[in-house]
Structure formats: C-alpha cells, structure tokens
Amino acid sequence: MEKNTVNKNTNDLSKLQLKDVIDIDVLQKFQDNFAEGMDLASVTVDINGEPVTKPSSYTSFCIDYTHSTKIGDDRCAQSHKKGGEEAARTGRPYIYKCHAGLIDFAAPIMVEGIQIGTILGGQILTSKPDEESFRRTAKEIDVNEDKYVEAVNKVKISTERNIEAAAEVLFIVANTLSQVGYQQLKLKTMSSDLVENFSQISATMEELASSAVTITNNQETLNKEIVNVKNISAQINLILDSIKSIADETKMLGLNAAIEAARAGDAGKGFGVVATEIRTLSQNSKETAMQIVKLTSDIQESVQKTLEISDSTMTNTEQQSAAIEETTASVEELLALTNELNALANQK
C-alpha cells in the first residue's frame, strides 16, 4: 500500500528515495536545459550510483568511446562513485578530474543531513588536452586512439570559475527541490494519518450511536416488563382479597358452629372443638394472606423504584444520543477539511 511505504520512508530517512521527494520529470527538464545552456553534461544518480535521470548533453568522447568498453565503463562508475563520496563527505559540490582526464563535478542532494542522491556533471576541460596522455588512456581502455584524440579535441574548454558556478547552481536547485519535496511528503503522511484517524472516529461514533439505539430498545422492553409485573401484582392482590374474604367466611362459619355446639349442650362438646379448630384455621389463613399482601406491596415498591431508575436511564440515553449526534456532525466537518488538506498535499 502506497500509504504505508510513504510512512516508512519518512520515518526512516535512510530508506528515503530521490524519486519520493523530487518530481523526476521536472528534474529532467531542468537538467536538460541547464546542461544545454551551460554547455556541460549532467546526470542525477541515487545513493547507489544508479541514474534516476537520462544523461543530458553527454559528450561523444564519453558516450561513444570511454563508456563503450567494459573497462572504460567500470572506471567511469568508479570515478563517479569516488566523486560522489567526497561530495557527500563535505556536503558541498566537489570538482575533480575523472579517470579519463576530463573535469567533472559532484553535487550532493541532501535531506535533513542525509544524502539521497548526487548530481554529476562536467565533461569539460580547463586547458587544451595533452594528446599523449589521452592516447595512453585509449590503449588502456581498448578504444581507437586516433578517434579518441579526435573526440577529446571536440570537448569544450571552460574556466574553473564557470565550472564552480555551474556546480553551485545545480547544488542549490537540486537541494531546494528536494527540501520542498520532503516537506510535502511529510504533509502527505500527516494528512493521510488524519484521514485514517477521523475515519476511525466516524466508525466508532456509528458504533456508539447504534449501541445507544440498542440501549433505548432494551429500556423500552424493560419498561414493558415492569408494567407487566405491576399488572401481575394487581392480580395477586385481587386473589388475596378473595382469600381474605374466604377466611372471613370460614371464621363466621366457625363461630356459628360454636354457637350451635353451645346450644347442643353436652352432645355438642366434640363439635365445639371442631368449631374452634375451624376458627384457628381461618385465622392462620388470614395471617398468611396478610403476609403475602405485605410481600406484593414490597414487590410493587421495588418495581416502582426500578421504573424510576429506568426512566432516569432513558433520560441519560437521550442526552447521550444528542451528544453523539453533535459530535458526529463536528467529526464530519473535520473529515471534510482533512480530505481537502489531503487533496492539496497530493497536488503535483
């Protein structure tokens, strides 16, 4: 995922690549025009020495001859590498003589003190070429001596001052471009982090909102159940009223039985005992019924309290829902802003 690579690259500067911070097309155009304008060669390489742009205004001497053999090509690579290393060490453009005898320069491209590439250039002379030494080189790298000498005589002769100025310009421009590019990269990372964070917040808000709905639904179910309990309690009380009136009837029956027993005199004594038992039974029934009445009254009280608490919870949940709505609106605004920011950061 591109996003993750961007994060990794900015966090670990050593993994930062030149093409991450500079638009290669823009660099190429600049390089080409500059090389033509100043009449010197130029190319941009990464920290491994691999070219990231196409070479601009390379001399025939270099392309057609020096680079044409393996030995020559390897020597060029070596020479470039050394030049780049020296430039990196000083952090400033470095002007030197290449293995073939031309004047080259290396300008380091730095970001936050770390080198991410080098602009190489030059391929000019500061004085007329010494034919002898060039013939020697031609033999060493195995190219045609005469053609080699012919080519070197076509190489432009310039002053040291010119070369210094050219190297300086390339150095300033490349580093400015990469600095700006790096800032933009950091901005991209931050804004995409923001987008991700806000998306997460949005998702969490949705979850919260839906859980609030669940709570409300549960509350309503709870309220229904509480009403149910109240109804059942009322029914129980009705039944208890029946039991009480049965107990009263039984007592009356018992008393009447006692009266009859008294009237029967001695014959009624046994019956009198039964009558007493009946009265005791009715008294116990009544007492038990009273206990149940007390219990259902306690249940009603407890249920009423539960109802009050659940009402208060409902109020809280409603407030919560309102707060969630407000927060969601704010988050959506922020998300819109962040998306705008992200779009800006990704502009070319």
């Binding site: 007592k251 009356m252 008393l255 009266i259 007493t276």
Partner: protein
C-alpha cells in the same frame, strides 16, 4: 360461661352464648317510621322478619359503626338482630372476671379477658329493647 366477643367501632362487647342464635351477613334494612331511636328497622333473614337494633344508640355510644355483621339473639320474647362491626371470638369466662359498675343510675358489667375489657350485655340490657 361462654360468651361471644364482638366489636362496635373500637369498643368491645360480649354476650352470653345462651342468648345467641347465629351470626349472619348484613342485609337490606327497611326503616320503620316512628320507631324508637335504637330500632334501625326490619330485616328479612331466611324468610323471617326480624327487627334490627343499633346497640350503639341503645347504649348511648357516640361512635360511628360500620355494620358488617348481624348477631341474631333471642331474649326469650323474640328474635332480634344487633349490628356489629366485627365478631371476634367465642371465649370462656369465669364469674370472677365480671365486674359490676354503677354510674349515675346506670348499671354496667365489665368483663376482663386477657388484656381486653368488654361490656357484658346481659339479660338486663336485653330487657331494655
């Protein structure tokens, strides 16, 4: 002696079982015009027309009664129903639990049973009806 313990408002009374016939639920009382104050009216109980006596008025009790039960009593002359708020129990009392009190020109008998004091309705009171 066995007595029936009953309540009129918060006052307790007792009447010897020998006078008591039965305990009944209350029924519609038909008022009798120009009758004495303590006669509440007439009632039909199991086909018999019986006068209803308001004991509270008879004993000059200034209390509100609720008329929950009728106690059918027989004072040898006739059956009458007396109104009671609540019929409590049948209890056995000793002669020594009865105290006679004279106030003004009225004679009362009080019965002590456990921690209850009840006015005894004896033949004397019944004769007044």
């Amino acid at each position: 002696m066995e007595v029936l313990l009953f309540s009129l408002s918060d006052e307790k009374f007792c009447i010897p079982l020998t006078f008591v016939e039965a305990i009944e639920h209350t029924a519609q009382i038909t008022a009798v015009p120009k009758s004495q104050k303590h006669i509440a009216g007439l009632v039909n109980i199991r086909g018999n027309i019986i006068p209803v006596v308001d004991m509270a008025k008879l004993l000059n009790l200034d209390k509100q009664i609720h008329m929950n039960k009728f106690i059918l009593i027989n004072n040898q002359k006739q059956s009458i129903a007396i109104i009671a708020d609540d019929v409590d129990d049948v209890i056995n009392i000793d002669e020594k639990d009865i105290e006679s009190i004279v106030m003004d020109d009225s004679k009362f008998s009080l019965v002590k049973y456990q921690n209850i004091v009840a006015t005894l309705i004896s033949q004397y009171e019944l004769n007044k009806i």
